[in-house]
Amino acid sequence: MTFTFTHSELTLLLPEITLLTMACLILVIDAFLSDEQRDLTFQLTQGTLIGTALLVWFNVPSEPIFAMSGFFIHDAMAAMLKFFTLLVVFWAFLYSRQYLKDRQFFKGEYFVLGLFATLGMMIMISAHNLLTIYLGLELLSLSLYTMVAMHRSSQTASEAAMKYFVLGALASGLLLYGISIIYGVTGSLDLSQLAVAIKNSPVEHHTLLTFGLVFLVIGLAFKLGAVPFHVWVPDVYQGAPTTVTLFISSAPKLAAFAILMRILVEGMSSLQTDWQNMLILLSILSMGTGNLLAIAQTNLKRMLAYSTIAHVGYLLLGVLTVTETGYAASMFYVVVYALMSLGGFGMIILLSRAGFEAENITDFKGLNQRNSWYAFIMMILMLSMAGVPPMLGFWAKLSVLSQVIQTGHVWLAVIAVIFAIIGAFYYLRIIWMMYFEKAEETQPIQAEPLMQIAISANGLVILGLGIAPHILMSLCLTTFGLSSY
């Protein structure tokens, strides 16, 4: 028997291998730690994430390289998305430490599962075969279900976990069904071969291919949380412990974007017109439903969930332009979204303490009187989500919308702008509450220094990159082989 991969191929997988080895190692080490020493697990986890991120950062290829018999692709998009995923997960864990300790579930498994989820995301991002995409997705989902359910004394968390599990399984089923139909028609799971097979397929296969495509798009929409496949999002976001919500809402979206790009753009580019229309529909529905229903929410976690749905709508706008600059704009959007989502849920964690969740909008009343610095950070986050200049969120929306207009979908851009203006209302309402309403709570905000630094940095990054958006934008543009403007 001969091995079908070489040493140089294994070095491409070095980040994944490092992450997996460290996750297993941490699992073993953690078993021998007492509760007081549990911080070591946390430190090792964070060290692993940083180390892996560095490995990714210093190995950005200029051209796509395939490895492991074509199951694995290493290209600039993979490297960029992996780097940001690792960074976002690192940040999410920074927010988690105090929250988990206060609620007595500061456990090693939480971090180990988080690492495995990250590994799943990296596999998805680098997947070049429908089989690896599916396996990566399952690795991610399985870890996430468990993380949601881990807080066993919380009934809402168990309910959320159950809903997430059932609907997630349904989505995986739909995705698999789509994959099986496509495989039946083309006889291949490899994305390059798939693209060729679809291009050369006879006309009578077209209906069948579209049929499979519908299932694939539904499966992807489920995972992204796009309307009308969004029903799980608000319930899971609200029910899960806030640290887990933070985790689910940020990094996995980067991976979901990656598989969207891999399947639709790399694998099914010949069916472009078909999926473009599907994405337009998903995008309009998501922007509309997300923004309109968010207004009615009194629970901040739920409101941010609907806001996520709306953001997914905007994210799809870039992909559906079917241009390289559009993809770059979408990638910019998803990275920005992940940063904002981190901050938004991070603020809820900051204001919460043992036995009290600051998850209602009214909990933010008069935050300015209690602590003007955090009120300022929250204002930055909300303005950015609403898309007000000069915050980062504005540039994200602008870049996506300008691409939509350039490709001639002016009506779509108009709809997107109208919904963005409607959406601004509920973000601004929070700012109003923080600055112009009397505080109901007078307790000073207590948080460990690590948390304070992380959340302040989060807000300042959004402000700073908002003032100099070209740094991030040119990164995204060069990823797709475009020179920056």
């Binding site: 001969t2 199951f71 049929f211």
Partner: protein, 195 residues
Amino acid sequence: MTVKLIFYLFAAILIFAAVRVITVRNPVHAALYLVLAFFTTSGIWLILQAEFLAIALVLVYVGAVMVLFLFILMMLDINLAPLRENFTRYLPVGLTVSILIFVEMTLVVKVLSKPAPADLPAASSNIQLLGEQLYSLYVYPFEIAAVILLVAMIAAIALTLRPKRWSKYRKPEQQVNVRRQDRLRLINMPAEPKD
């Protein structure tokens, strides 16, 4: 010819067993019908020259999974009557879905009707072919699947293992070391005055 006859016989038994799985009232009987279904499937696989898969199905599913499943069913003592009540209510939906799936499958098979694969040479080894594919070409997905199983194991333990303080049990090593002072406390009390 005989192969075809055997196939149709097995297929008929398989469909019968599969239908019985969801129609019998007793869950234990349903499990037993499922065993029959698995066994018949493995027979069909043998006809298709997939010996290894056939044997694995019998060993893993019939031998291990279903036996475990039967144990659980017998221990749980679940009353399935309320679950069955909705059978007719969900029947239309279920039937629609099944018919749709059937139509789709026929579509795929009809459109693509490819020639049947050639017979394998007599000396070929199923396991060897499978192993060569699995451990060379498919080694990357194979390893990921292994990681998924590891995560499933961690998840199951993390969700069900209760910390010690929640369960009550004796600690004999501490019981035998008990001293008089641990159980008995002597206190000084003023003697009660006599009436």
